[in-house]
């Protein structure tokens, strides 16, 4: 893959501030014959690339770090490898395969090989067609839960991985490990971002 094409493909994140490590790592990976710069425990190389690209599109670097900056994709791979049972792992694999098969069918290539506008179209369609999570009460979702599907499930996992990373949890979200007291009605303006804990 040549550099120019790679740039076009990641054009979703174009802009001077984005031409930094995230982009560089993608460019570097191109130079290294498009290899991953990390070794997945669970994903195949193509699956890992798919997931990395997805989480980067969902949570890109802005003036705050993106999902790849805090290694959300690497953590997700680890979680699937170490906490999913064989059935859950197989399901994840088949969902990625089905996601790519749909990309092939509609756009003629696997997700990572699509150009930017097609990838955006894929995600927009996934947003519109994926089920949504019901609210939870004490750790368990309530009400009639519609099927979530691969995209929303992966997105949820990516956000969890992102929010619970040290960089985001301590430096981007509002971090207060020992509040000391309870203020029942504090203006948002005095807190800032959502509490990380």
């Amino acid at each position: 893959m040549d550099r120019r094409k790679a740039l076009q493909k990641t054009g979703l994140f174009a802009g001077a501030t984005l031409m930094m490590p995230t982009m560089l790592s993608i460019l570097q990976s191109c130079n290294e014959e498009n290899r991953l710069h990390w070794t997945p425990e669970f994903f195949t190389e193509d699956e890992a690339k798919t997931v990395s690209l997805l989480v980067d599109m969902i949570l890109p670097r802005t003036d705050t770090p993106g999902a790849l900056d805090v290694k959300s994709d690497i953590f997700m791979d680890k979680v699937i490898a170490r906490t999913y049972d064989a059935e859950g792992q197989e399901h994840m694999r088949s969902e990625i395969a089905a996601f790519n098969a749909k990309c092939e069918e509609q756009y003629g290539a696997a997700f990572i090989d699509l150009d930017e506008s097609d990838r955006i179209a894929v995600l927009q369609e996934a947003e519109a067609n994926s089920g949504k999570f019901n609210p939870g009460v004490w750790g368990t979702s309530v009400g009639e839960q519609e099927p979530i599907g691969f995209y929303r499930g992966l997105k949820s996992m990516a956000i969890w991985a992102y929010f619970t990373s040290e960089e985001i949890g301590e430096n981007v979200l509002s971090y207060d490990p020992i509040p000391g007291n309870y203020e029942p009605c504090r203006p948002v303006s005095e807190v800032g971002n959502r509490w990380s804990l």
């Binding site: 949504k132 009460v137 309530v142 956000i159 619970t164 509040p179 959502r194 509490w195």
Partner: protein
């Protein structure tokens, strides 16, 4: 509070033996030790020393390799308890090993256990409510179960006594159906909860919303620190800000010099001497060495947690008690109860986008029972009643937002939408056929018989749940919430973790196991003061009542011992 006397002297004779070190066992140990009795506490699990053994208390998510996720091995170890949704890597070490300690569900039943010093007092919800005569008179009035041998006036001073030691925060309301405790200052409702409270109380006469009454300190108390609003209670609190045996009763017992605690001690049975006509000790299996050891004492408190206590009694067979110690009535193992769980409503609250809070309050709101409390509130659909817990917070699931990319990411860094929910706890009637039995086919890791649990909620509980959900939706609608979802997870018993009954108190030895002072009718030096003793289930959380009954029974025990009646 170091320097526990951990079976150092190898004594086998004590004044008193307490089986279990959870909420009620801790209280028994404290009271008996403070009254001068050399007391042995037998704990089937490991020692968990306050603060020292709270290994996860300060971990942030990113400090845990899987940030709370459980490995397949851990899931296998907790294959039953995992259904609760409560178990993560931060608390996994405080939940019992289901694989080593199996049980059989004749009908679905979740049995959650904490096999360590402190038991489930490390893990409990800390909601603490007094029962009232509405509860103590309920069986007598509507004819379900048998009459309680006590009334509110019998237990009232003991509620005050345990509350003063434990430290209960809450708001006094003066409600007859939910008597006020001896309170520390209440925690506060947040602005959305205050708003909803006023809407509900305006529109529904007789309904109140208050902050949960909890065993969390809102100010320093008896040498313990106040709540720091970290909401990491179940990992063990470094400040001792919530009531656990580890932070309160066991150190108090230890301070007397009269306490010995023996970990890894699985009580196999209580030894009953047919000639003496009383219990003389207990038989244990050392969980690590498999050694059988006998300990003797003048009085025995069985506080192993409701079902385990009854399991021990059922396994304690003698010529006098062929069907289990104290089982003249045939009621041992019967009348198992729990509260219904996760039935209510949740919705979104608009108009408070500029408001937030600081601190993670380990507490929520409470709506006390308002049905069947008098003629005017009488239901023709069910007997007994329910109360609600709940709360408002900013959350939502950011993954639901139909967007991705830079703007999306920046938007979800901001506080999410306000949500408010209430979830009911309904009283369960004491049905004889809801029972546990010894299972000699399925043995535990130590070759001991296990339990088969055969219990279900019936028509009355289902009718209560229907009303809980309908009322919840109606209240949230009246409060102006949006996107309201009524729910009933239809959990089987056990999910409430308020197992009660199976060795009930009563007036008549022919229909009950224990008398009005929690003594086994026909073996008066054996006391049962945990959930097993309960004659009915009320709709409020039971732990405070276990504490009060235990302190009352322990003081009675010492008094009877002095009179040489035991």
């Amino acid at each position: 509070m170091a320097n526990f006397n951990i079976d150092a002297k190898k004594d086998v004779t004590y004044d008193a033996i307490v089986i279990g070190s959870g909420i009620s066992g801790g209280w028994a140990a404290k009271e008996l030790c403070e009254k001068g009795l050399k007391t042995l506490v037998l704990e089937r699990g490991k020692i968990v020393e306050h603060v020292v053994d709270y290994t996860t208390m300060n971990l942030d998510p990113w400090d845990m390799e899987l940030r709370g996720g459980l490995t397949p091995e851990q899931k296998k170890k907790h294959y039953k308890a995992i259904r609760s949704g409560w178990i993560g890597t931060d608390t996994e070490h405080f939940w019992a090993d289901d694989a080593a300690n199996p049980y059989t569900e004749e009908k679905p039943f979740l049995w959650l256990r904490g096999h360590q010093m402190g038991g489930k007092s490390l893990l409990w919800g800390k909601q603490t409510y007094r029962w009232s005569d509405l509860d103590f008179e309920a069986n007598a009035k509507d004819g379900h179960g048998v009459d309680w041998p006590i009334r509110y006036k019998d237990i009232e001073p003991w509620y005050t006594y345990v509350e003063k030691f434990a430290g209960i925060s809450g708001e006094a309301l003066g409600l007859p159906q939910l008597p006020d405790s001896h309170f520390l200052p209440p925690m506060e409702l947040n602005c959305v909860e205050k708003h909803i409270k006023s809407r509900i109380e305006e529109q529904f006469k007789g309904r109140n919303m208050t902050i949960g009454r909890v065993a969390h300190l809102t100010q320093p108390h008896n040498g313990r620190g106040q709540c720091q609003y970290r909401n990491r209670c179940s990992r063990g609190c470094p400040y001792g800000a919530y009531f656990s045996s580890n932070a309160t009763t066991l150190p108090a017992a230890n301070a007397t010099g009269n306490l010995t605690i023996r970990p890894y001690s699985i009580v196999q049975s209580v030894i009953y001497d047919d000639k003496k006509g009383k219990a003389t000790g207990v038989r244990i299996i050392d969980a690590e060495t498999n050694e059988d050891i006998e300990y003797s004492a003048k009085i025995i408190f069985v506080n192993a947690s409701a079902l385990s206590t009854t399991q021990i009694l059922m396994n304690s067979k003698s010529n006098r008690f062929e069907n289990g110690l104290g089982n003249d009535s045939g009621e041992l193992g019967h009348n198992l109860m729990d509260h219904t769980y996760r039935v209510g409503a949740i919705g979104k609250v608009e108009g408070f986008d500029d408001k937030y809070y600081k601190g993670r309050r380990p507490n929520g709101i409470y709506i006390p029972r308002y049905v069947n409390i008098d003629e005017a509130s009488k239901s023709d659909k069910f007997v007994r009643g329910f109360g609600y817990q709940g709360g408002a917070h900013r959350g939502g699931n950011p993954a639901n937002v139909e967007s991705f990319g830079a703007e999306f990411k920046n938007s979800i860094l901001k506080p999410g939408p306000w949500e408010f929910f209430i979830t009911g706890f309904a009283e369960c009637l004491p049905y004889h056929e809801n029972k546990i039995t010894l299972n000699h086919e399925v043995l535990d890791k130590w070759g001991q018989p296990t339990l088969t649990i055969d219990a279900e909620f019936k028509e009355n509980e289902k009718a209560l749940n229907k009303q809980i959900q309908e009322d919840a939706v109606e209240m949230l609608e009246a409060a102006g919430l949006k996107d309201i979802i009524g729910f009933d997870k239809e959990h089987p018993p056990g999910y409430g973790v308020h197992e009660m009954g199976t060795a009930r108190m009563g007036r008549d030895p022919k229909t009950s196991v224990l008398n009005g002072f929690n003594q086994v009718h026909a073996a008066k030096n054996v006391f049962v003061t945990d959930g097993a003793c309960m004659t009915s289930s009320s709709c409020v959380n039971p732990s405070l009542t276990y504490m009060a009954l235990t302190a009352r029974a322990a003081n009675h025990a010492v008094s009877e011992l002095k009179k040489q009646n035991l």
